[in-house]
Symmetry: C2
Subunit: 176 residues, 2 copies
């Protein structure tokens, strides 16, 4: 993180990271699949939180409640993980490099897929489940982008709730 913040992602070599960590390049690649993956370790934990929230909801909970539960749990977990300042620093690094954005999008796509699977487990049909998975990820990442914005002080969970409301009115209009 220090090296990335100082010289940028591309200008930082794996040799440099390994040296700073006191290991060889080969050892680095035994811990991380590739150079980008350093910034995405522990991502599967967040995914588990989303999924657990859905799987652990009361049996009679309507779809809405499942999505809200997943977002609340996920948002809270992310906030507790390493704090907003860490998230800001990490986000700036990722925002400056397309390779990293690609990786982040892949992680989010997997999150969407996991959420969809969890919903299918609860009897939701395939297509609505996929769309709901995307919706959850959309609300999550839009709220996250706002959460790490320079002047923002509000809670991530609160911002997610606002996002859900926005989608509601957005689609409500849609009925005409």
């Amino acid at each position: 993180m220090e090296l990335f913040a100082e010289h940028g992602f591309e200008a930082t070599t794996v040799a440099g990271i390994a040296e700073r960590a006191g290991v060889t390049e080969r050892t680095f690649f035994r811990y991380f699949a590739d150079k980008r993956e350093v910034l995405f370790a522990g991502e599967q934990h967040l995914e588990a939180v989303f999924v657990s929230a859905i799987a652990g909801a009361p049996a009679d909970a309507p779809l809405t409640d499942l999505l809200v539960a997943a977002l609340d749990a996920g948002g809270a977990a992310l906030q507790d993980m390493r704090g907003r300042e860490f998230a800001r620093a990490r986000n700036e690094i990722i925002g400056a490099n397309e390779q990293l954005q690609e990786r982040e999008l892949l992680k989010l796509a997997k999150l969407s897929h996991s959420v969809a699977s969890a919903l299918v487990e609860r009897g939701i049909a395939d297509v609505p489940a996929r769309l709901a998975g995307d919706l959850v990820v959309s609300v999550f990442s839009t709220a996250f982008a706002r959460w790490v914005a320079a002047d923002e002080t509000r809670d991530l969970v609160e911002l997610q709730r606002q996002g859900l409301t926005a989608i509601n009115t957005l689609v409500r209009t849609e009925t005409g």
Copy 2:
């Protein structure tokens, strides 16, 4: 495409592609930013179709109509571009490789961003515009996945309409 289909993306070297094309490796990289980009040329055209549909809609069109217009235009354009069989072949290659999926997700994220910008141009507020951009992309890619499925024969535009309907009922339930 032939080489990728035959040996897979990773096993195909740029040297091999260049040779097949009758040029040198260096020339390949003057036409494509990297090896993956070969499969994503002409993507900006599709993006333009989505944006034009929004920008060109009647001044008094409600948000719903803008999203439907964008999806109809984009779906139709994609269908007319190179046909379903080509899309299937391309999709299979991409589905077999995570690097290519990452690139595709990046392209879709850019599409979402463009759609959101086009909506902002029409006076939609920032957050709803972003969410609507994601929604359009979600409906588009979910419908696309179904469109290229093995036994599917329905129209892409029709599948997108179904997706929109699904989101409607999905969020309608949400009101309680």
